[in-house]
């Protein structure tokens, strides 16, 4: 994805912030959420448009409820 969507960038940055607050690595989240490590990294960089079920896996890995993982956009 050459032209990154600014909303995906905002969402990915938010995931990264929450992950760092939990002191977890990208590997930790990817493993816990059963996602490919490279794919998870792309989500944090705004290079992927994940489905809502993927977002739910990430929420579980972060020990958050679904609405808690998204920025107010």
């Amino acid at each position: 994805m050459k032209n990154k969507d600014p909303n995906l960038i905002a969402i990915g940055r938010h995931f990264k912030k929450l992950r760092q607050e939990q002191r977890m690595s990208q590997e930790d989240i990817a493993h816990k959420a059963d996602l490919n490590f490279s794919y998870y990294g792309k989500i944090e960089r705004g290079e992927q448009n994940p489905s809502i079920l993927i977002c739910l896996k990430i929420a579980w890995a972060l020990e958050k409820k679904l609405p808690e993982i998204f920025p107010f956009i």
Copy 2:
């Protein structure tokens, strides 16, 4: 999708509740969010796993912020 995912069902029902609170029809939301009407109906019935950018379009159509449109799952 024969075996509907219970989380997609919960998300779809929540979208429906918010839409009805706004006194909007499925056609209203689909048109405002620039989504196919049939596709939007499938989301409300838990028969689709929409991407986060599709969810963001639905949030805008509902005049909500992204975290406000999801159930606490």
